[in-house]
Symmetry: C2
Subunit: 307 residues, 2 copies
């Protein structure tokens, strides 16, 4: 099934929340981290295993509440090869539970190098005499548009062949985003990026009316959200900046089509580490229940936008 | 020692060539790849081990000819965890032989996520109760500026603390580069990026007069190379686009300061897979000698620019 249609069904079933698996080491539940450090010493294996166990509990507990996850690669790469094993375990566990998996690596390159990323994460790898299914195989990637159209095309082609999705950074949620993205001549850079993505993805529009090639738009720029929604009706938005980055939920109404489709909203720390608000819970026991409560809270707030 | 000063010494000793380790699977010497596939079957381990063996032979053979390598991460990530092991082996082998190692991952993100990348690749990782030296530890990273200043700062801060280097994508070598990078209001995006990098790196200028925070500038845009060299005397250039991308060597003269410092030039395929031009050498035996000859050819051409 077309990726954008899968996303649309998922929004209808669970709501638009994307569970952001950004395992900051310092926020991991202590009862898990300390057990691992005790067993394995101060090693990459201990840190990576604590990440895997934390993710698995979250994925198990939230499977009836959230339909999509976004994995922030930096936190796994940082832990070396053991971290990459944690990434692999997390992808497999999530896939077995039926989550749609978005890998947030913001990769970018040109020609054969971009193709290597796209094949490695979305499809399959060929070599003289054979072919192997992608080792990491996920449903969608985030990518960076700074290199222009020929940096996007290999990713989009590969996604097209395999019914996968792409989210191109457009208007990011951070404070300095305008320094590059608002350079204007006459269109601002981020608008130009949206135009480019719209053109490149027009053959990948599903029955929902959305293309499998979407854009990343930060919740922290509500006026831009509105402008982009109005001018680019076929683009699916992946929205960061709610929760830890203190974006405003209300302004998200601008991001959706009238039927509540067209945008998915990532929240990371504010869900997975919600237990930290309870100052009496130093050990972190029950963190996954707190995460589930918070996820339900967000899904309900998002539904209210349309009532 | 300041990273830019290390680069300057390396240019004086060997010349400005950077050996690009982009192990395209289809170009690997057949005698190595076939042996691995025979031993290990059609597996990631076979492909990754063929990469490691190819890289090791190149690194051994070229150590008196080239002082710097650039590792293109896509080709390693594509091969899954075995590929990441090949990356690790390559980094360690190169470090033992004294090469300056630039990791070309074009990473980018904001705040704590950017910091996770920077720590993971340049410095050390902290956790409650301890700290471990970076698993991947290299000398420099390439990063993407689309997120603006606050996406660059964590990388630059971490490089500053550890005498490492950063190369920020500025004017890339690909054909569509202008679609984003030439948006102009009134400065073009890539010029604005250069200005931003210059400001952020001004405290990291070494005795050579160059900053450890440099930029990537494609050989394929000679006029831009000249403009950037003239206007940004403290920026070190990492230049792709020579060789496989058919950039012109002559125009590189514009990239250097009069004393021959200030730029390093990456060549990948055209050196490491030079053996493929000999149509009678299907097995690839002796590929490392061909690579060495070609590397010497490039270093000589680069020296001639100043005669």
């Amino acid at each position: 099934m077309n990726f954008a249609d899968r996303i649309s069904l998922c929004i209808q079933k669970f709501g638009p929340l994307v569970l952001g698996l950004d395992p900051h080491i310092e926020y991991l539940p202590r009862f898990i981290l300390e057990q691992e450090l005790k067993e394995k010493g101060k090693t990459w294996e201990a840190l990576a295993q604590a990440v895997t166990l934390t993710n698995n509990k979250l994925l198990d507990e939230l499977q009836d509440t959230v339909g999509m996850i976004k994995i922030q690669m930096a936190f796994y790469e940082m832990l070396g090869i053991p971290g990459m094993s944690a990434l692999k375990s997390t992808i497999e566990h999530a896939r077995n539970l039926g989550y749609i998996i978005i890998l947030d690596g913001k990769r970018n390159d040109i020609s054969s190098t971009a193709l290597a990323y796209a094949r490695g994460y979305l499809s399959s790898v060929s070599f003289p005499g054979g072919q192997i299914e992608s080792f990491w195989k996920v449903d969608a990637l985030t990518i960076n548009p700074y290199l222009g159209e020929d940096g996007l095309r290999p990713f989009i082609d590969e996604a097209g062949k395999t019914d996968k999705g792409i989210f191109v950074l457009c208007r990011t949620s951070n404070r300095s985003a305008p320094t590059v993205q608002d350079v204007s001549g006459p269109e601002k850079v981020y608008v130009k990026v949206a135009q480019m993505v719209e053109a490149l993805g027009e053959k990948m529009i599903g029955e929902s009316g959305f293309s499998s090639i979407g854009i990343v738009v930060g919740a922290t720029y509500p006026d831009d959200l509105k402008l982009l929604r109005t001018n680019f009706p076929s683009l699916l938005f992946l929205i960061p900046g709610v929760g830890a980055q203190k974006g405003y939920i209300k302004s998200l109404a601008n991001a959706f089509r009238d039927d509540g489709l067209g945008a998915i909203v990532n929240v990371s720390r504010d869900v997975i580490f919600a237990y930290r608000e309870d100052l009496n819970n130093e050990s972190g026991v029950g963190f996954e229940k707190k995460a589930r409560e918070r996820a339900i809270y967000y899904q309900e707030r998002f539904w209210e936008l349309f009532r």
